[in-house]
């Protein structure tokens, strides 16, 4: 297949899957079969594309143009390919998990759930492969709108409230700031919005004040990146069923946000212009504050999913921090964090979901001694926690290493201390959970019987174990990943003069 067809397939496959799910709504087994087969097919196509990208090709697809510069066009580069591989690969795992969770929990409206999920994946694929800001924005909003019914899935008052906050925050920031920034860029760059190696705005006369304002509008407007003070939608979205929290609010949605931040930094601004932009340092400070404050809030949360949500807010800020470091190591750290954190956080969420299905427990304080009854789950949880903390040999080690190196290179000597503080806080809020669970329960409060007689369904145990081992494998794969990303990072950090040469 030629590259154009492959890109079209990546975008159309999820929609076909959604249609297939809708058609098979009456037959749950066939419906789930469609999801599984479809997600595997999608992953196969994405892998082919990634192979093309790693051989130096940049698959493109031009659909049409609404007005000068406002085109629907796709162009896959290494960073986008990485995001697409992560999202589509984890979708397979998560689909298996969803089947176990949704059936084990006897949830209603399962057909709608799987349809929206497939559309959300389409949104993520579109964000990953977008060739310009306009296309990216459209798929960004597809992602927002398709996940709204998923957050509101339960339909009770709390779910409705959480979903409303979710939708209003994401739509508000994206229309209020992100879209304004896009319009402004379109004007400043002379009716263009493409992602250009070395930065679209790098070759344009632009005053530092305008560049600062634009950068602020971009970074805060991309609400999915959950930078403080626009982070509160993420804890509120935790009313969703756990598979949604696992794939969307640890992988697809939030990663689409930080991916967009990286993409804007690398392909709209470029490292040189970013360095000349005064508001960059302010945003670095905001990212550091987000890391520390969100981790401190996570410490105070007894609800497991809430704690994980704040942990996600803190971990996402790593990527923003990497983007704002605006050098090769920073971009590299941010990109690696997308993959490493995805594998670790999806594991943690899937564990939380498995515990909920088996016991109905949501609070950490009730889980003492539970590890004796579900050891596999807590071992997976333990491994993923170590990856988040950044202990070798787990994948989460590399992004921290790269970020520290990038920060030291830039002379921001205090950033490594922030990252170390973050690791300490990670230890404090994550490790007690599996350790206390694996300890014998206190005699005065013995562990209760499972709510569900058979304990957690096998699928909900196998999936987190698989992703936990993925954290180990990713640790070993850092070199190939670095080589894969290198061309994109080189392009983004090339100086303007070179890029401008014909």
């Amino acid at each position: 297949m030629n590259p154009e067809t492959l890109i079209a397939a990546v975008l159309i496959l999820p929609l076909l899957i959604a249609a297939g799910i809708a058609a098979m709504g009456k037959f749950p087994n066939i419906r789930e079969g469609v999801t599984i087969v479809g997600s595997i097919a999608l992953f196969a196509v994405v892998i082919q594309l990634a192979a093309l990208v790693s051989s130096g090709a940049r698959p493109e697809l031009f659909v049409g143009q609404a007005a000068p510069g406002l085109a629907i066009a796709f162009k896959l580069e290494p960073l986008g390919a990485l995001f697409a591989v992560v999202a589509s690969g984890l979708w397979i795992v998560n689909s298996f998990y969803s089947i176990g969770y949704m059936r084990g929990n006897r949830e209603r409206n399962q057909t709608r759930f799987y349809i929206c999920f497939a559309i959300a994946i389409c949104g993520a694929m579109g964000v990953a492969s977008a060739g310009n800001l306009f296309t990216l924005f459209i798929f960004y909003e597809v992602l927002t709108l398709s996940t709204y019914p998923l957050v509101a899935h339960k339909g009770d008052a709390a779910a409705q409230r959480g979903a409303r906050i979710y939708l209003l925050t994401l739509l508000g920031t994206s229309i209020g700031f992100f879209l304004t920034a896009i319009m402004w860029t379109w004007f400043v760059a002379g009716q263009r919005l493409d992602f250009v190696d070395g930065g679209l705005l790098a070759n344009v006369q632009i005053s530092p004040v305008v560049a600062s304002a634009l950068l602020l509008l971009f970074v805060f407007g991309i609400g999915k990146a959950a930078l403080m003070p626009f982070h509160f939608w993420l804890p509120n979205a935790m009313v969703a069923p756990t598979p949604v929290s696992a794939l969307l609010h640890a992988v697809a949605v939030v990663k689409a946000g930080v991916f967009t931040v990286l993409k804007v930094s690398m392909y709209i601004f470029g490292a040189d212009l970013l360095n000349a932009t005064p508001s960059r340092e302010f945003l670095m400070d905001v990212a550091c504050i987000t890391i520390v404050v969100a981790s401190l809030i996570a410490l105070t949360k007894d609800n497991l999913k809430a704690r994980l949500a704040y942990s996600t807010v803190a971990q996402l800020a790593y990527v923003t921090l990497g983007a704002m470091l605006a050098d090769k190591a920073g971009f590299m750290g941010g990109s690696l964090q997308i993959a490493a954190h995805a594998a670790a956080k999806i594991t943690l969420f899937m564990c939380a979901g498995a515990i909920y299905v088996a016991t109905g427990l949501t609070n950490i304080s009730d889980m003492r001694g539970l590890g004796r009854k579900m050891p596999l789950i807590f071992i997976a949880f333990f491994m993923a926690s170590l990856s988040i903390i950044g202990v070798p040999p787990f994948a989460g080690d590399w992004p921290k290493y790269e970020l520290m190196q990038g920060a030291v290179d830039r002379g921001a000597d205090w950033v490594p201390f922030i990252l170390i503080a973050s690791s300490v806080l990670n230890i404090a809020y994550l490790l007690p959970i599996p350790i206390l669970a694996l300890m014998p329960p206190p005699p005065e409060a013995p562990v209760k019987e499972f709510k569900r007689p058979g304990g957690a369904p096998a699928l909900t145990v196998a999936a987190p174990l698989f992703t936990a081992f993925l954290c180990l494998i990713l640790f070993l794969l850092v070199d190939p990943m670095g080589d894969f990303l290198a061309p994109a990072l080189d392009a983004a950090t090339t100086t303007v003069q070179e890029a401008a040469l014909p």
Partner: protein, 512 residues
């Protein structure tokens, strides 16, 4: 079908007389319709008439685009212009004519089921359709004429017909009567201001032909009576165009008139008045006078922004869907005024593009509401609960038009806001862009409330299951809804019309 093929296939009489026939045909058919005893025949003849006008408007547009000067001048009764009445059509009016006839045609097709269910006395149907044709004819006349006094005559024809049509909503809601009376007072005030202004201009220049006035004005820039005339004309037309704060008549008139009337008026009446405003600001007075000597930007822009922000806020707090949209209409007029107030080619083009797109959105929205009124009665937001389930086709079209009203990418509304943003940035008015964005954000709220009720709340009366609007409503509704999507993806056609219109208003050198 390209415009050239329209010209080659058009009959000779159409080519020679299209600009005047498209006004004259509905006006001459109106009395005939009034005496028809059969309502259905009256409807069919009205549809046919509106269709003919629409065709003639297309021919006119093709003629304007193919004419070397870009101006069609039609001398009525062969009296040469400064003395006789002239119909003068350029790219600016051709766009308005196309819009009014196109919406008029679609609206007249859609009118039958709603009018028969909302009008008390079926014997009055003939009269009603006569009023509709007169109103359309008047609006088209305002948009075609090149004579300032003649414009007043057409303005009054359309207004008087409108008062009648608004008052006919009295069966569904008695408040239609005070609304019509209020509109009558305000509208007459506006028209009087306009005619007084024309009187001052006539006193100073001694002519009523717009082009002729424009030629004589540059020598009279310091003339007091010209200045007073300018003020009177702007206030008069501003009242008709629902320019904030002269919009008080609009919400009630839109809310209580028959559904069909709301559709037609919201998509055409204020647009035509706004056209007249642009015509006077740019063609008659010239931008040098309006914007430099009278520094009119600093009057128009704040009024536009006030409308955008204040009326969007008011829309958020309405409980009746029709009032939500009525206040939103005033806010949208604000966008157009803001674009026009820049007095640059991109600004005026953005204003005109939004004028075009807004007609598509509001036409579709009010058509959907008409369908809901027919099948489910009530129009409060509470009544809309669960309609996404019971009337999915109607509400999906409503949602598309609603998203366009917000300005979501891939809809027509986004294109016009983008153009407006571009024009504002080009002038360095970035603060105004923020206000535009803020107002769009308010639109998310007021449209979102309706959509949330329709799609995410259970129906009020669960026994009322599937009840869709009739096909005669659905088809025009979906044509408009799809137009909202189409012109958001391929915006070349309306964008070209708006740019040509801006060039016609500002002069050829306006676009570098």
């Amino acid at each position: 079908m390209t415009l050239e093929s329209v010209l080659t296939s058009a009959p000779a009489w159409a080519l020679a007389h299209a600009p005047v026939l498209l006004v004259a045909v509905p006006m001459l058919i109106a009395p005939l319709v009034a005496i028809l005893p059969n309502g259905r025949a009256a409807w069919l003849i009205s549809v046919l008439t509106a269709g003919v006008s629409f065709y003639l408007a297309i021919v006119t547009l093709a003629l304007v685009q193919s004419s070397p000067t870009g101006i069609l001048s039609y001398e009525i009764g062969r009296w040469p212009p400064p003395i006789g009445i002239e119909f003068r059509t350029d790219a600016l009016n051709a766009m308005i004519l196309l819009l009014v006839t196109g919406i008029g045609f679609l609206a007249s097709v859609f009118s039958w089921p709603t009018i028969t269910s909302e009008l008390s006395n079926r014997n009055k149907l003939g009269m009603f359709y006569a009023a509709f044709l007169l109103c359309m004819s008047g609006l088209l006349g305002v948009a075609s004429t090149g004579d300032a006094f003649n414009l007043f005559v057409f303005l009054e024809i359309s207004s008087l017909a409108t008062y009648v049509m608004v008052a006919m909503g009295a069966r569904r809601d008695r408040r239609a009567l005070p609304a019509a009376f209020n509109y009558l007072i305000m509208g007459t005030l506006g028209a009087s201001f306009y005619i007084v202004g024309i009187g001052f201009l006539y006193a100073a220049t001694g002519t009523l032909n717009m082009a002729d006035i424009a030629d004589r004005l540059p020598a009279l820039t310091d003339n007091r009576s010209v200045q007073v005339g300018f003020a009177f004309i702007i206030v008069g037309l501003g009242l008709k165009a629902a320019m904030w704060p002269l919009h008080q008549w609009l919400p009630n008139a839109y809310s209580y008139s028959p559904s069909f009337v709301t559709v037609f008026l919201s998509a055409t009446a204020t647009k035509v008045a706004l056209y007249a405003l642009v015509r006077f600001l740019f063609t008659v007075f010239r931008p040098e006078y309006s914007f430099e000597l009278a520094s009119f930007s600093w009057v128009l822009a704040p009024l536009g922004i006030a409308a955008m922000v204040i009326c969007s806020f008011q829309a958020v707090f309405q409980t009746d869907v029709r009032r939500v949209l009525a206040y939103s209409s005033v806010a949208q007029v604000g966008y157009m005024l803001l674009g026009v107030s820049l007095a640059t080619a991109p600004g005026v083009a953005a204003g005109l593009l939004h004028l075009f797109n807004h007609a598509l959105m509001k036409g579709a929205l009010f058509m959907a509401i008409a369908g809901i009124v027919m099948t489910h009665q009530g129009t409060t937001i509470r009544d809309f609960a669960g309609l996404g389930r019971t009337a999915p086709w109607t509400m999906t079209a409503f949602a598309i038009a609603g998203l366009s009203l917000i300005g979501v990418p891939l809809t027509a509304g986004f294109m016009s806001k983008l153009q407006l943003g571009y024009a504002l940035f080009a002038e360095g008015w970035w603060w105004a862009v923020l206000l535009v964005v803020f107002s769009s954000f308010l639109a998310v709220f007021y449209v979102g409330r309706i959509l949330q009720a329709a799609f995410f709340q259970p129906p009020l009366n669960p026994r009322k299951t599937h009840k869709e609007a009739p096909l005669l409503i659905l088809v025009p509704l979906w044509i408009l809804a799809l137009a909202n999507l189409y012109f958001g993806i391929a915006a070349d056609f309306p964008l070209g019309l708006a740019r040509d219109g801006a060039v016609a208003a500002l002069g050829v050198e306006a676009f570098r």
